[in-house]
Assembly symmetry: C2
Homo-oligomer: 227 residues x 2
């Protein structure tokens, strides 16, 4: 058992080292990186498609898509107009720093303003792995039920922003926005909770503003620390 723990510790230390390398690379290149997590089917890819379409002329974006199998999501993102690299994990339940290091070789980071990483659809494992990102976004959706923050607290605890998608389906579910907000705020008192519908476009502007603002905040911090 002691051997298992030592080995696990070594693996985690290596992963953290690679994440630090990634973070340094992102900061040197001046690219804002957001790591998106959610249950399967909460709408991460649709959110990125809509973001790509709406910010295309304004910000230079790219995306990395994590899935067990298929390149369906990367094709959707590319159709929406931004370059994308698909990572297939096989059976892997989350993206790793090593996979991101390989994937970014395809991009000229210094020519990008924003890099989105769409993690494997899984509300558990991705939360444990730092990919060198500046911000973490958890995407929920109304049909999943309002109790997910308390049932999957680790993902929400590590998040910097929560998107509540599929607000257009709210009336057809028994989801309580008030209960959801209370559960999220119980874990992270001041986190932004952005209610939106990628389908109708309702609430998208607040999300785009969050991306713009956080990118600016990260860039300002980078300039300061370079002085």
């Amino acid at each position: 058992m002691a051997k298992r723990i030592r080995l696990a510790k070594r693996v985690v230390a290596q992963s953290d080292r690679l994440a630090k390398d990634l973070s340094d690379r992102f900061n040197e290149a001046g690219v804002f990186v957001a790591n998106l997590m959610s249950s399967p089917g909460a709408g991460k890819t649709t959110l990125l498609e809509e973001t790509a379409r709406r910010l295309k002329g304004e910000l230079r974006m790219a995306a990395i898509e994590g899935d067990l199998a298929t390149d369906r999501d990367a094709r959707r993102i590319e159709t929406a107009g931004i370059p994308c690299r698909q990572i297939n994990t096989g059976g892997g339940c989350h993206l790793s720093a090593r996979q991101i290091l390989d994937a970014i070789q395809d991009f000229d980071l210094a020519a990008l303003d924003v890099l989105f990483i769409e993690n494997v659809g899984n509300l558990v494992c991705p939360a444990e792995f730092d990919l060198g990102e500046h911000r973490r976004v958890v995407v929920s959706s109304t049909p999943e039920g309002d109790d997910k923050p308390v049932k999957y607290p680790i993902a929400f605890h590590h998040a910097d922003c929560v998107v509540l998608n599929k607000m257009d389906l709210l009336a057809a579910t028994n989801f309580s926005v008030e209960a959801y907000r209370r559960f999220v705020r119980g874990l992270k008192p001041r986190i932004p909770i952005l209610e939106l519908s990628c389908r109708t476009g309702e609430g998208m502007e607040a999300w785009l503003d969050w991306v713009r603002d956080e990118r600016r905040a990260v860039a300002r911090k980078a300039v300061k620390s370079a002085r």
Copy 2:
């Protein structure tokens, strides 16, 4: 690396041994065991609540609920009228055979006809772990999108039955039942695909029949092998 692989193999071998123990215990007691898997919020708990309510007088049932945190699901199942044991995994992304062995100490297995195991909401990791169950059920829901079988093939590949829940929300989504069925059947050509809505009750009878039939089939097989 070789050490890591040897260690991983040992852990898997131990887990398989415990699963075999469980399987023997279930067969000796003559209890039919189904292991339910899905994304968070696909409706596993609601399916079990409705199943408990409808089969209560007919079959002696119990459930084990797996969640990272809270006993919300166990309380829901108990309110629906069947005994339930909650397992909190902390950060664990799936239920383990060891946890099930501990949990069943609370039940008189020989006095049960059916034991449902509701795994942690996760379409990736639970698929890799045998809990000694007779059948595996994957629950999908229409708002998740029709492409989940190809993006999470391992869970579907190991399933014995697929439930497609939230059919009442179909018209509000862009889910194609035809595409979903084609994706599932591409992995498992003859698997039953049961379209239903726990909310409206539509399609529930076919699911209850599946439970009744599979339980009978397992019981018949046990009698034969005991001869």
